[in-house]
Amino acid sequence: MKRFTYVRAASIDQAIESLSVHADAKLLAGGTNLIDLMKYDVSTPTTIIDINDLPLREINETADGGLRVGALVTNSEVAIHPFVARHYPLLASAIFAGASAQLRNAATVGGNLMQRTRCPYFYDVLTPCNKRAPGSGCPARTGLNRNHAILGASQLCVATHPSDMCVALAAIGATIIVQGPNGVRSIPLADFHRLPGDSPEKDTTLVDDEIILDIFLPPVLEHHRYSYLKIRDRLSYAFAIVSAAVLLTINDEAAVSLAHIALGGVAHKPWRNTAAEALLIGRPASRVNFDQFASMLLSGSVALSENDFKIDLAHRTVVRALEQAASRTPQSQFDKRVH
């Protein structure tokens, strides 16, 4: 680990000011990703700004029937919160699908939003990586890319975003509240993470000196159906090869009335296609319609040398998750059999 100066922010304003003053500073919350990256010298901040004293640990219901989750609330606290378990079970399920209990107990929701890709070239400082060292090249494009992107990649970067929680937040339509030197602004989750394009070193649309304050979940969706289906190389404690988060409502005429579907493990950000979702509205929740939706969702997929299987796998995962949701038999994160 490279040496650094440690400071502890006593207020949000002080944290922002400290970010402005110190170049190459990083905010420390749970540390489960940052400390790991620092041990590999992938992240080499010269200053660590510890934000654990900031008043961002509350979960509160909002006046409009939604939920406001502070950036420092741990993943575990969100997943076991009674209101989340009852009204946003998709979010609880996705969180339980990720990492281990120990990591979820330390990791924060703000940190989850900010976590970096698990691309092995990004992690190995002896290899080039455009995300870690802009302009150095991307060995993943022709190298070990079994678990890399099939959607939205660029010539410079084929990394995927590793979060489960963010895939659920994408389906739910969360909003991220951030504060910077110029005040507070809100960013829809869909716009929070970005595609790699010409600047893969940027994971998010946060600008310098901004800090995440809260995540807003929109008002509870009554009588919705859901499933979070995560496909991985081992049954637990592994990153997704593909995952699908599904929120569905079906009306009295057995037609789909709302469909929010996000894919994980396939792109630089949780992947949604609202045009494809619109295709489902007003139509029966049937296999043939789910198939058609999955084809449109995955249109434009491009396989790399080792991951062509992911296109088919993603298609089947989406269809299965939609069927699980429609039949009110969401994937259990404990009994791992996929029904």
């Binding site: 040496r3 440690y6 400071v7 510890d50 990492a99 209990a101 120990q102 009994d335």
Partner: protein, 167 residues
Amino acid sequence: MDAAPNTAHHVAYTINGVIRMATIEPWVTLLDLLREEFDLTGTKKGCDHGQCGACTVLINGIRINSCLVLAVSRSGSVVTTIEGIGTPDQLHPLQAAFVKHDALQCGYCTPGQICSAIGLISEGIAKTRDEIREGMSGNLCRCGAYIGIVDAIEEVLAAAPDANSLP
């Protein structure tokens, strides 16, 4: 806040009921603080990256990977390590169950397994065998004693489903 380089930080922890203080550099992890400064070597360093669970301890009763915690960040916390759980004459129920069910071979992962299992029981989520397996997935055992580990935890859970009834 002081922008000048700073390397010496005073930390104070209550570890297994004893207040301990040290002056450390900010990059020292809680795991290294326990092992190197306080000579509490029961907590093990396996991968040092949060993947194996050998370093699991309880902070304020909650299980975490001590290798991914900067000690300076969590100063003031109450920490329980394996040294604070049971004694050779009076084993903690989980320790007794691990012995009974052959839940270890080399024993290197065991302190982390025991701390993690205490955390799992107090979380109160895991009831079934599947749930125990999933809840313990952050603790690897290279000897492959997983069946014994789940057997041991299952037995203790069945006997004391309320975590508060455990010592």
